[in-house]
Amino acid sequence: MSLARILVPPKARRGDVVDVRIAIQHPMETGFRMDNNGRKIAKNVVNNLVCRYNGAEVFRAELGSGIAANPYLQFYFLAKDSGKVEFEWVDDAGEKGSAAASIAVTA
């Protein structure tokens, strides 16, 4: 289960700068750690995260092994039209996750 919590304001006015947050539950395994038997634990981090607003990409992040477990990101975009804010991410193991919320924009 790839789980995330997202915070997108349900309502905004056109031209507002909207504050968006996402927290993803992920161990962000660095690849530098060993298990109890001395074997290397394979690197597994969320390497790519995209946010689309009504289909158009508004934010993209490439994460690496320097990011702590359960990455938490916050960014802003300009509210134009009502619609969907979609997040998609993928980790090194190929597991994909997604989350979406809708935003209503008034004039």
Binding site: M1, L3, R5, L7, R21, A23, A69, N70, Y72
Partner: protein, 256 residues
């Protein structure tokens, strides 16, 4: 003669069972934490512990096991039915007459009523459900009652708390009663209460149960570590819950 013996025995147990020392004033561990950790715990969105609570919320209404029942099938809305549950645990299970904590109770529900496999003690699912159940009691004071049924467990836990152990030859009391508020390396020693558990510990980079934290303390004094969910740790958990009576539930907490 017989009655005198009984009276003597009662007197002796009274002396032995005298109220152990409780730190005054009682302070939750969060009061010994840095401003950043406090801010993280108090912000319901950015607290990483809430990820597990959200997982628990999802699992609550997912059916499991051969019965096809979910937690919600019997307990309905957790926000109403689970309010005030965590402060009463650990408690004696009437069926088996054994001491169970919230984790144990959830697993009992799974095996008895859902006919599903028990969850691993430190698994994300069990931590999530425990956090979600505990969260419904946030702000309510811990309130375990020591009675004839659980007194034996309480006394075992209390004795463990005051017994020196490990290569360091320390008991819990030496740090958490006599030296709280002082520094141990770069950390401030707390009074050792279990009211925020399960917590997201920044050092672990994940959520952990109270038993995991207790095992870390056993490791710290270089003593043999009891297994998570073992009788030793359950008894200690009961004593700690009694000792923290009046502190409010902070689940799911955040610690350094």
């Amino acid at each position: 003669m017989c009655s005198i013996t009984i009276l003597l025995a009662a007197g002796a147990s009274l002396v032995h069972g005298a109220q152990p020392f409780r730190p005054q004033p009682l302070k939750s561990g969060i009061e010994f934490s840095s401003a950043e950790v406090r801010a993280l715990q108090h912000d319901d969105f950015s607290s990483p512990a809430m990820l597990w609570a959200t997982r628990g919320e999802k699992l609550w209404s997912e059916s499991a096991g051969a019965s096809g029942k979910s937690c919600a099938s019997c307990h309905q809305d957790a926000r109403a039915s689970m309010k005030g549950v965590t402060p009463r645990y650990p408690q004696i299970d009437p069926g088996t007459a054994r001491l169970v904590n919230i984790e144990g109770r959830i697993n009992q529900c799974r095996t008895r009523h859902q006919q599903a496999a028990a969850l691993g003690y430190e698994s994300d699912d069990l931590l999530g459900l425990t956090a979600y159940v505990g969260m419904q009691s946030r702000g309510l004071p811990l309130n375990v009652v020591i009675d004839t049924q659980n007194r034996r467990h309480f006394e075992r836990g209390r004795d463990m708390y005051y017994t020196r152990m490990g290569q360091m030859d320390l008991a819990c009391t030496h740090c958490h009663d006599r030296n709280f508020g002082r520094k141990l390396l770069n950390d401030t020693i707390s009074q050792g209460h279990g009211n925020p558990y399960p917590v997201y510990r920044l050092e672990w980079q994940t959520m952990g149960s109270l038993h995991r934290r207790l095992r870390a303390c056993f490791f710290g004094v270089r003593a043999e570590r009891p297994a998570a969910g073992s009788q030793d740790l359950l008894d200690l958990e009961l004593f700690l819950a009694w000792r923290a009576q009046g502190l409010t539930v902070e689940t799911p907490g955040v610690r350094k």
